[in-house]
């Protein structure tokens, strides 16, 4: 079996035996996913790339002790989340002050993909672009803690218990943070997307509607 086709378990075993190629396959398999998590937490491409690098170095060091009780990715994800949380704790960045120009460019590239799937419909493409920009900017404006729980939940589907362990707080705190993070996200998106017509994709307006309370 070629390394690219091997499952994670076999690759981990090969890594433990000193197979550098196997470790590279694991990196190639997960680096973008890890980056997505890190970027979701940190909202800065270079910081996220640093976390990717640090996470894989840490994984390589800890592999001999990895017993496979959880999946490799779950284990990797925990390491990444912890690194991001540590980074946020150390960080003195102020919310809403910094905006990564690289990220702005990245967002445009991401929008280009959406435009390609819009079948040439200009109004739809414009709306998709605005949606992606609005989501990205709104994520950046959330507090670190709210963004962290939102990313952990929406991107990776972590349980409240796992999130509580990662963030070293109670399950109730996680539930509360997630609730307020979603509320704030809805508010920010509504603020940015309220002017868009409702008939494109049918998503934006319903998403940004304030829920009845």
């Amino acid at each position: 079996m070629r390394p690219q086709e091997a499952d994670d378990h076999a690759l981990v075993a090969a890594c433990k035996a000193g197979d550098r190629d196997a470790f590279q396959v694991l990196y190639q398999r997960y680096h973008r996913r890890v980056f997505a998590v890190a970027h979701g937490f940190l909202r800065n491409s270079e910081d996220a790339l640093d976390v990717v690098q640090e996470a894989f170095i840490k994984v390589h060091r800890a592999l001999p002790g990895f017993e496979g009780q959880s999946s490799f990715y779950t284990w990797l994800y925990r390491i990444v989340a912890n690194l991001c949380i540590d980074h946020l704790r150390r960080s003195s960045r102020k919310r809403g002050v910094t905006f990564d120009d690289r990220f702005r460019q990245d967002t445009s590239e991401a929008v280009a993909e959406l435009q390609a799937s819009s079948l040439g419909d200009p109004s739809r493409a414009v709306k998709n672009k605005e949606i992606v920009t609005a989501v990205a900017t709104s994520l950046t404006e959330l507090s670190d803690k709210h963004r962290a729980v939102l990313v952990m939940r929406e991107l990776e589907g972590l349980s409240y218990t796992d999130m509580a362990k990662a963030m070293n707080c109670s399950k109730g705190t996680i539930m509360s943070r997630l609730f307020h993070a979603r509320k704030n996200m809805q508010r920010l998106l509504k603020m940015r997307l309220d002017h868009l017509p409702a008939d494109v994709d049918g998503n934006v307006d319903s998403m940004t509607e304030e829920p009845a309370s």
Binding site: R20, Q24, F35, F56, A110, A136, L139, E154, M175, S206
Partner: protein, 205 residues
């Protein structure tokens, strides 16, 4: 603080827990029935789904927008860090071992030079010094005449010659006196003292 959704009597927190799969079986079933029956709750669930989908898609798009070359650079850094750690784990050779290794190209000429210098030094030193007398190995000679030391024994004059092996001493000078030692197995030694009252002693050897 509880946020009730419309007239449903269901709190926003409970609906979120239901949406996130955090409710237990009975509670989850009860809420599922309420959501099915209430357009308001169904709309709320759809909003949560759409927001999750948008966040997920946006984060994935951002990750896809990073060029592969940038991730290859990161991999190079990772490999570099792994190599450094591997080097650190290997035992470092001692200072002498590293010096010896660094001298590997000059090792043979250096040894030859040092050897030649040492040889030359030995030759020079041996040429400048007097030759040491060659020690002659002589068989142990039993001294037929043993003169035990005695604090009262007179100092023999230097004229007294050592007896040769097997020789009979017929004439010894002791302070001007004469004596004789016979080879009969018993040697008689005469001690002569210069006291006013000289006394004689005998000792069998």
């Amino acid at each position: 603080m509880t946020h009730s959704i419309g007239q449903t009597g269901v709190s926003a927190e409970d609906l979120q827990r239901y949406f996130d799969g955090e409710l237990t079986g009975a509670q989850a079933q009860e809420l599922a029935s309420l959501v099915d029956a209430s357009p308001e709750l169904s709309a709320e669930i759809r909003q949560l789904q759409r927001m999750g989908s948008l966040v997920r898609d946006t984060l994935r798009h951002e990750a896809q927008s990073i060029p592969s070359a940038r991730f290859e650079q990161v991999w190079d850094e990772i490999e570099h860090a792994i190599d450094i750690r591997a080097d650190e784990r290997e035992p470092q050779p001692s200072l002498w071992a590293r010096l010896w290794e660094s001298l590997r190209p000059a090792r043979i000429p250096l040894i030859a030079t040092l050897g030649a210098a040492a040889l030359a030094l030995i030759l020079v030193r041996s040429g400048s010094e007097d030759p040491e007398p060659v020690a002659s190995v002589e068989p142990p000679v039993p001294n037929p005449v043993a003169v035990p030391e005695s604090p009262r024994a007179p100092v023999l004059p230097p004229t007294t010659a050592e007896p040769a092996v097997g020789a009979e001493i017929h004439d010894l000078q002791f302070g001007g006196k004469t004596g004789r030692i016979a080879r009969t197995g018993t040697v008689t030694v005469l001690y002569v003292e210069e006291d006013l009252e000289p006394k004689q002693s005998e000792r069998s050897l």
